[in-house]
């Protein structure tokens, strides 16, 4: 078991989730409630990471983050280190790849709140911030949590993009899924099996959590 790799994976998952929580809430809510020109385009582009092969996403991110690109150059000037093959680069890539996993469930959760309920809240004299806090978030939270759990689980398992953008630098970009691949290549079946089982367990727990939450939500409606 490569503990460094596991810890790195968990760290990457937590950081990705922490960044995508506010992003998902804001973008998901915006897409759920606002009609604006280009909304369909935004929704479609957010779904891109779901349909593109991870290597393709990884390739474009590598190009975009590389020393030859403006983004890469600005980053290097600011921090003194290249963005590719670094943990920071990995975080940015992970956030981008996980946009649909975080935003979709949150958007659906906000959409599921009937408009009349929000209208009623406004007619109760509740300020928008209070409506968000006491009506929208409590009603949408199972969806919000599913988004976060999916993001976390997906981050742990992401392989292609991580390999393209991060490489396999121990302690910095070598995640569990990369380590498993690496161990298999080295015929270290036992280490690979242990790590694979760990990821499997984490995924099962995550999915169990998502289903338990959605059932609770359904029970809530009917009960």
């Amino acid at each position: 078991m490569e503990w460094t790799a596991l810890i790195l994976s968990l760290r990457l998952g937590v950081v990705t989730v922490l960044i995508l929580l506010p992003v998902g809430l804001i973008v998901g809510r915006l897409l759920a409630y606002r009609r604006f020109p280009g909304r369909g385009l935004v929704e479609a582009s957010l779904m891109l990471p779901l349909v593109l092969p991870p290597t393709v996403v990884g390739y474009y991110l590598l190009v975009a983050f590389g020393g030859a690109s403006p983004i890469g150059q600005v980053w290097e000037r600011l921090t003194g280190a290249p963005l590719v093959f670094s943990f920071e680069g990995l975080v940015i890539a992970s956030v981008i790849v996980n946009l649909p996993f975080a935003i979709q469930p949150m958007q659906r959760a906000f959409e599921a709140i009937p408009r009349e309920i929000r209208d009623a809240a406004a007619c109760c004299g509740m300020a928008p911030s209070r409506i968000l806090r006491t009506i929208e978030l409590p009603l949408a939270w199972p969806g919000i949590l599913s988004g976060l759990v999916l993001t976390f689980a997906h981050t742990l398992g992401e392989f292609g993009v991580v390999l393209m953008v991060g490489g396999s630098i121990p302690g910095s970009t070598r995640t569990v899924s990369i380590a498993i691949y690496d161990r298999v290549q080295a015929f270290d079946e036992r280490a690979a099996a242990v790590m694979a089982a760990t990821l499997l367990l984490l995924s099962v727990v995550a999915l169990g959590l998502v289903y338990a939450l959605s059932n609770r939500r359904a029970g809530h409606r009917h009960g």
Binding site: P114, L139, H220
Partner: protein, 371 residues
């Protein structure tokens, strides 16, 4: 109007709207019309949830909306209580929390205390901790009403509040509303498609059609004297016909109306020119049966003869539709007590004579049937 509610709303798109209404404190105004007439839109505009292109809404002297002066208060700044058709209760909160959420903050006392009193007012004491999903439809409606009252509203808006409950509960809730209006003394605007309900609960009816106010008047007046043939049709009045003005008799306070082969004496309507084509209506209650057993003086007034086309017993009343002679097949509906129908030997296909009371014949501008 200094106090009460007055609203003028105009919109071209997406929903055409041309509505004017006033409602005094303690008054119940019913917005009546078929679905899609814009009734709910009017309520949403008053609440500030929709914004008409042109409009002015004043409540209790406070301007809520004035598009000319770019005044448009948010729903939060309008002291409005609204009961939505499906109540729109907050499903994750107890009945008490639902009501407490609408109690203005910073007022005297705890919101929970006021909420508890309001739940008592709507007869829900003991159910404070129940969530909406654990309450019956009627109980949910009461929570919604208590929540609407929690803000101490200057206007109470009720959007089809009795549509989603069973008949027995509906009667009970309707009675409670009558009692409530004495207690709260604010303008109450009730949206309903149920004419009977409107006539029973409201002081005045406002007939809406395609977003336009057609007529606003007390129920009895609107039923007896609809402003136009369209209003008469929307009210589902049975006896609406076409005729022609033959002349006016001011000294007899009558207008002579040509209807097929008959020359009827109608209620005086000098606004129509001689020869004008008009629509006219008469309430069933002003169609008097010529009784064999007991002839009355009223029979001399506009006597008509015909044949019974249909006779249905509705409880203790026989609803009779007769085909009137010399009118090209017009059908006239009247109601007579069942025992009277029996005693006079009225039966399907039999002959029947009736009189139309002059004061009941109401002339309206003729308009082609379009909608």
């Amino acid at each position: 109007m200094a106090d009460g509610l007055s609203a003028r709303l105009r919109n071209e798109t997406p929903i055409p709207l041309d509505v004017e209404l006033t409602c005094a404190p303690g008054e119940v105004l019913a917005l009546v019309g078929p679905s899609g007439a814009g009734k709910s839109t009017v309520l949403r505009c008053i609440a500030g949830l929709n914004r008409p292109r042109h409009g002015r809404i004043v409540t209790d002297g406070q301007i809520w909306l004035d598009t000319d002066k770019a005044i448009d208060l948010a729903p939060q700044s309008r002291a409005v209580g609204i009961v939505f058709q499906n109540y729109a209760l907050f499903p994750h909160m107890s009945a008490l929390a639902n009501v407490a959420a609408a109690v203005p903050r910073g007022g005297a006392g705890m919101p929970e205390e006021r909420a508890r009193r309001l739940l008592e007012l709507v007869h829900l004491a003991g159910l404070e901790e129940r969530r909406p999903g654990e309450l019956s439809g009627g109980q949910q409606q009461r929570v919604a009403l208590a929540r609407a009252l929690a803000r101490a509203p200057k206007v109470l808006l009720l959007d089809e509040p009795f549509a989603a409950v069973d008949q027995v509960t509906r009667r009970k809730l309707q009675r409670e509303l009558v009692l409530l209006r004495r207690a709260v003394h604010v303008p109450i605007v009730l949206v309903t498609h149920d004419l009977e309900e409107a006539a029973m609960l409201a002081d005045r009816l406002s007939i809406l059609h395609h977003g336009r106010t057609l007529q606003t008047a007390p129920a009895t007046e609107i039923m007896a004297r609809p402003a136009t043939a369209l209003v008469a049709r929307l009210l589902d009045l049975r006896n609406v016909f076409e005729g022609q003005i033959e002349g006016h008799l001011p000294d007899r306070s009558a207008t002579m109306l040509r209807w097929g082969g008959y020359l009827l004496e109608a209620a005086y309507a000098p606004q129509f020119a001689e020869g004008a084509k008009v629509a006219w209506a008469i309430p069933s209650s002003d169609v008097i049966l010529h009784r064999r057993d007991r002839p009355s003086r009223g029979e001399r007034e506009n006597p008509l003869a015909g044949q019974i086309e249909e006779m249905i017993a509705l409880g203790e009343t026989a609803s009779i539709t007769m085909r009137v002679e010399h009118t090209g097949g017009a059908s006239l509906t009247l109601g007579v007590p069942l025992h009277v129908a029996r005693r006079n030997g009225l039966a399907h296909g039999g002959a029947i004579g009736v009189s139309l009371l002059k004061t009941g014949i109401h002339c309206m501008p003729w308009e082609p049937r379009s909608s």
